[in-house]
Amino acid sequence: MKLITAIVRPEKLDAIREGLEAYGVQGLTVSAASGYGRQRGYTEVYRGAEYNVDLLPKIRVEVLATDEQADDILDVIIASSNTGRAGDGKVWSVDVFEAVRVRTGERGAAAI
């Protein structure tokens, strides 16, 4: 099994969810993050002094997936969150050793 993690633009959350739902993904976990990278930030002014804010808001989306589906899901996420401009983010996957559904105790693919 794989855990797919995507760090993407916050405004893309809805598109990703729609894409994944359409693909058949039934659950995912979202959290807030801030990213620093090639995308440059913005400037806030306070008392005539400038603050250059270069940690920009991102969304982290995590999806557990079977090995077979993992690659498709990667593609779905990329397709639905790409804008072509710096700051689009990263998606990565790692191998999962074990996964469990808390409600039932089901393990493995059944847990997803």
Partner: protein
């Protein structure tokens, strides 16, 4: 002349009404998204600043005194407030200024999250001068609708004790016109993030508005009896309207909401404004219920009809303003046994007068607002760029964010002031690959086209 009770009351009332505009800033500011809260509040604050100056210079002069064609006063008669020499002359000017301030600020709720601050800063003084002052003159300053005015004589003088037409109908119509010209927010009717970001602020705003409204309605009272009646009516109508609104929500949606309670209070206050001195307390209760229910239903229409009156200026101020103004045709209590509304045996006279003043206010405000707003929109543009809207107007127009609560959400480097004053730009990012295209930054938050280039984008990106 020594201070009289009347002077003291007028000073207090004026301070109360001035306090209403920051109250409005919170009422509106809490209803926007967090990323547009400051801009929303700034639209109210700049109204105080702009109109405060305009009023001292020519606004006061234009809204009373000797007029042109019963339509507007002479701006130079008491320009700069020179030549006002009755003992309470300046107190009255101060009191009147606060009405002009809040009227224009009311409009801003309709165009939340997307108006250029520069354009708004032009709109405010022009609109006050060309729309508010004449209307105030016509209704209160001895113009068209006064007892000596042409229409006043023809139809009998309309009742608008504290500003149903001049303030609420006027602002509500202007709001509608602005929405139609500026257009809807992105995602209007679809994006759940358009929910209010801070409802306690909305309630704070409603509370300050209510508090100040006692000055608004009762400030011009002359007798103890009248003052007492106005005070009680200014309690009764919004109390009843709050209940009316909440019951409507409970039946329609299943839940009475806090936003509804706050909005209901305002709807009731709007409705009682023109009528506060001329209806009985029980009449005020009834008027309040009607206004609460009607506005609760009206605010939903924007979704049906597709115009993004973002914070419901039309649904609350126009609708309840009309209700209060027209209701006087039915429930005005006869003064000294003379006149009165239809239900008090006064016949249709008062009703015609009320309908006439409402209609004139609507037409006048609509036409002039459209001209002003279009002129601004066609020249400097009234609306921010799409990117600025997505980033949020707080950051893109004011280079600020309303809140900084957390760890981790903010970082970056700090550029002390002297670099700015010396004009030395922020250091270019050393890590940017050479040959990066020098893309022109289009908004405060800048994505370079393909790879990064560090730019102090905020500075260039502001709209004028």
């Amino acid at each position: 002349m020594e201070l009289t009770a009347g002077h003291v009351w007028l000073m207090v009332a004026a301070a109360l009404v001035l306090f209403m505009t920051p109250g409005l800033a919170f009422f509106y500011g809490g209803m926007t998204r967090a990323k547009a809260a400051l801009n929303m509040m700034m639209m109210s604050f700049i109204s105080i600043g702009m109109v405060g100056v305009v009023w001292v210079l020519w606004g006061a002069s234009m809204s009373s005194g000797q007029g042109f064609l019963e339509i507007v006063g002479n701006p130079f008669a008491t320009f700069g407030l020179e030549g006002i020499d009755t003992p309470d002359g300046l107190i009255k000017v101060g009191y009147a200024s606060t009405f002009a301030i809040i009227t224009v600020a009311l409009i801003s709720g309709a165009i939340a999250d997307r108006a250029k601050f520069g354009a708004w800063s032009v709109f405010v003084p022009v609109w006050v001068t060309l729309v508010y002052c004449p209307l105030a003159f016509m209704v209160w300053g001895g113009g068209l609708f006064g007892p000596e005015g042409e229409l006043g004589k023809a139809l009998g003088p309309a009742i608008d004790f504290a500003g149903g037409t001049v303030v609420h109908i006027n602002a509500g119509v202007a709001a509608l016109v602005l929405v139609l010209i500026i257009g809807n927010r992105r995602g209007f009717g679809k994006d759940p993030n358009h929910r209010p970001h801070n409802i306690p602020f909305v309630m704070l705003g409603a509370a300050i508005l209510w508090f100040g409204w006692f000055g608004f309605n009762a400030g011009a009272a002359t007798t103890a009896e009248q003052a007492g009646l106005i005070w009680v009516n200014t309690l009764a109508a919004p109390a009843a309207a709050m209940l009316g609104w909440l019951v409507t929500e409970r039946i329609r949606d299943g839940h009475p909401t806090s936003l509804g309670a706050a909005s209901g209070v305002v709807a009731g206050l709007v409705a009682i404004t023109p009528a506060c001195a001329n209806v009985s307390p029980v009449g005020a209760l009834g008027l309040g219920v009607v206004a609460g229910v009607a506005s609760a239903l009206a605010v939903g229409l924007k979704f049906r009809w597709g115009f993004d009156d973002s914070l419901d200026v039309v649904g609350v101020h126009l609708v309840s303003g009309i209700i209060g103004t027209v209701a006087l045709g039915f429930i005005a209590v006869p003064a000294d046994g003379v006149g009165g509304g239809l239900f008090y045996g006064g016949g249709l006279t008062q009703l015609w007068a009320q309908l006439a003043v409402a209609a004139v206010a609507i037409v006048y405000s609509a036409v002039l607002t459209a001209v002003i707003a279009l002129a601004i929109h066609k020249t400097m543009g009234f609306r921010v760029s799409q990117e600025q809207e997505v980033v949020g107007v707080d950051l893109s127009l004011h280079a600020e964010t309303a809140y900084e609560f957390g760890v981790g959400g903010h970082g970056g480097s700090f550029q002390p002031l002297h670099e700015l004053i010396t004009g030395k730009p922020l250091a270019e990012g050393a890590e940017a690959p050479a040959g990066a295209p020098a893309a022109a930054p289009a908004g405060a938050a800048v994505d370079t086209a393909s790879n990064g280039q560090k730019t102090a984008a905020g500075k260039e990106s502001v709209e004028a």
